[in-house]
């Protein structure tokens, strides 16, 4: 049975027209039918509706009928008795709805018919004829088999033969319609600057008041051929168009709580059926920088000339950026700019600092490392490094152009160190 339905339910939608009889008037005595199935995105339901529309002359002799059923794939969605049928006097309408499920194909099936209301009995041939020449035999005297779900009527006809007569149903035919609900999902491929968690994945992007880091999210949908429409919650802005399969999203305001905004995509096919997917989103920003080491001898490399003369040193300090939600929420990202500007407060002997005062030096904040700062000091050209040596420099660190509270660097003869572990935004 279901296989038969599968084979026959191939049409998208149809108009059905029938001329019950021809004659002098072409338009007279005609009946039309219609069936369709559509997705109601407001109610998230698949809706099948059908109607049978006779003209006035047909209506004089016949009552229109229509039945509709809705199939969810191979199974009937809601049983046979859940159709809502409404008789509007000059036409009849039937509907059935069912919750939509992504990826499922729905089949609607309708039968259109007319119930004959004018009958005459011809005793000569023991048959009934209607006005248009359709004839049918009465069913035998009691007991009579109920062949239609119509209430039987009883009449006495000459020559006083008792018969039970059932209303004749003229089957105008059937109509079919089909609707496949599409599927869509959002893919976050964790590009640089984005931290994914899940499933379900949470879109995260970094933001600073100066720089918005845009990231791309993609939708995967089926069947193909539909249109995409992206919508974004507050704090997010589409940097690219919102009607492609991918969209570039940037944060324009930091989240006040994790996942306090969202990204949604709606995929719509030509027939109006659609599917949506959304992911929560968080706009993070670097709220504090933490020096993972303070420098010192263990993080210092001494520099000697080829003749073995001590020339200076490089002390490395690594920083983690943590977000607005706590000191444990380290931002793991690859690529944000990490920069510094220094000014010397005191120096005991002339030396060369890198970078020199007032000159911004940029590197990249990278995965598994964070921000790296190298405190570099060497002797003036040709000279050995002074011993003893003492200097102090003020440093301003920048994460994507967001500046942090000053850090102070202390330089000694064979190493340097920083004074403050936690730096914060203003």
């Amino acid at each position: 049975m279901t296989g038969l339905f599968r084979r026959t339910f191939t049409a998208m939608a149809l108009f059905a027209m029938a001329w019950l009889t021809a004659g002098a008037c072409v338009r007279a005595q005609s009946t039309e039918g219609y069936l369709d199935v559509f997705y109601d995105s407001e109610l998230d339901q698949v809706f099948a509706f059908a109607g049978t529309y006779p003209d006035y002359e047909t209506l004089t002799y016949y009552d229109p009928k229509v039945d509709v059923s809705l199939w969810c794939g191979d199974d009937i969605c809601s049983g046979w008795n859940n159709t809502v049928t409404v008789d509007y006097g000059t036409y009849v309408y039937a509907e059935m709805s069912w919750p939509a499920k992504a990826g499922l194909t729905y089949y609607a099936y309708a039968t259109h018919s007319l119930k004959l209301d004018w009958i005459a009995f011809d005793p000569e041939i023991y048959s009934y004829w209607d006005y248009y020449g359709y004839s049918f035999n009465p069913c035998p005297p009691s007991p009579c088999v109920l062949v239609e779900r119509e209430p039987p009527s009883c009449w006495w006809f000459p020559p006083l033969v008792a018969v039970v007569l059932y209303a004749e149903i003229i089957d105008l035919g059937s109509s079919e319609a089909e609707l496949t609900m599409p599927t869509v999902s959002i893919e976050i491929d964790c590009p640089p600057g984005v931290v994914c968690s899940g499933p379900p994945a949470t879109f995260e992007c970094l933001y600073t008041p100066v720089t918005h880091l845009a990231e791309t999210v993609r939708a995967v949908a089926a069947p193909s051929g539909g249109t995409f429409h992206w919508t974004l919650g507050s704090k997010l802005l589409a940097k690219s168009g919102t009607t492609g399969s991918a969209v570039e999203v940037e944060g324009v305001e930091g989240s006040s709580a994790p996942a306090d905004t969202w990204i949604k995509v709606t995929y719509t096919l030509e027939d109006g059926s659609s599917a949506s997917a959304s992911v929560p989103a968080t706009v993070r920003f670097a709220f504090k920088l933490r020096a993972k080491s303070m420098g010192g001898v263990e993080n210092t490399t001494l520099i000697y000339s080829s003749l073995g003369v001590y020339r200076g040193y490089l002390t490395t300090v690594y920083y983690d950026a943590t977000d607005q939600f706590g000191e444990n929420n380290v931002i793991v990202a690859d690529g944000p700019e990490f920069a510094e500007v220094l000014s010397t407060l005191y120096v005991s002997e002339p030396v060369t600092f890198d970078p020199p005062d007032g000159q911004k030096k940029s590197t990249r904040y990278v995965l598994n490392e964070g921000g790296r700062d190298v405190l570099s000091v060497t002797a003036a050209t040709g000279d050995p490094f002074p011993d003893p040596f003492r200097a102090s420099r003020e440093q301003i660190l920048y994460f994507e152009n967001e500046d942090f509270s000053p850090q102070y660097q202390d330089y000694y003869t064979t190493y340097a160190e920083v004074e403050i572990e936690w730096l914060h935004t203003f």
Binding site: W19, Y39, Q45, S135
Partner: protein
């Protein structure tokens, strides 16, 4: 006997003029008729949506269902629904009048139960006149739609109609003509039987 032969005659005419829905793009007349049907569908959905709302049930996008299937944009949908609404306002009184006439006509003729040998009477002439009026209103509505919808909207509507009609071919024809409803063989059998009884 002559009267009985008259009963058979219309069927012969029908056989000579098969009217199965054809595949392929509809011709202009069929297209106009299909658009009239589309307007009637929209009007029906409007009536149904209003009814649901009166019952306190959400009607969702039911009013726009046909427009959604045709892929009309908001402006085009608005035009379609307004034309359908105006058409409905004009046809509703005719439908009410026709219903009253038919009801009265049936009551006058025994509710359609006829004595032996008595044929159903022809339809009341005023119904034919009403039908002509109704057809004219539909034709006007279609012209209004053609005028207001714009070429892009019309193309979408025609595409939907063509797609629908193309699918009603062969064995899956949605509604059959009299020739298909009652196969020739069975009618010939009836005819032979009639002649046999007459002899």
């Amino acid at each position: 006997m002559f009267i009985k032969l008259l009963l058979v005659l219309p069927l012969g005419v029908v056989l000579a003029v098969p009217r199965a829905v054809a595949a392929g793009p509809p011709e202009a007349a069929d297209l106009a008729r299909a658009k009239a049907m589309a307007l009637q569908i929209c009007a029906t959905l409007q009536v149904r949506a209003e009814q649901m709302e009166q019952e306190g049930r959400p009607s969702g996008l039911l009013r726009r269902a046909f427009a959604i299937k045709a892929g009309l944009n908001d402006a085009e949908t608005q035009v379609l629904l307004e034309v359908a609404s105006r058409m409905r306002a004009r046809t509703a009184p005719l439908d009410n009048r026709a219903q009253a006439i038919i009801r009265s006509f049936r009551q006058k003729h025994g509710g359609g139960r006829l004595p032996a040998g008595v044929l159903p009477p022809p339809p009341p002439p005023e119904l034919t006149a009403l039908q002509r009026q109704r057809d004219a209103i539909l034709e006007e509505a279609v012209r209004e739609l053609d005028f207001q919808l714009g070429s892009v909207g019309l193309e979408k509507l025609h595409r939907q109609i063509s797609r629908a009609r193309t699918s009603t071919t062969g064995q899956n024809a949605a509604v059959r003509t009299p020739a298909e409803i009652r196969p020739l063989a069975s009618r010939m059998l009836s005819s032979s039987r009639r002649e046999e009884v007459a002899r």
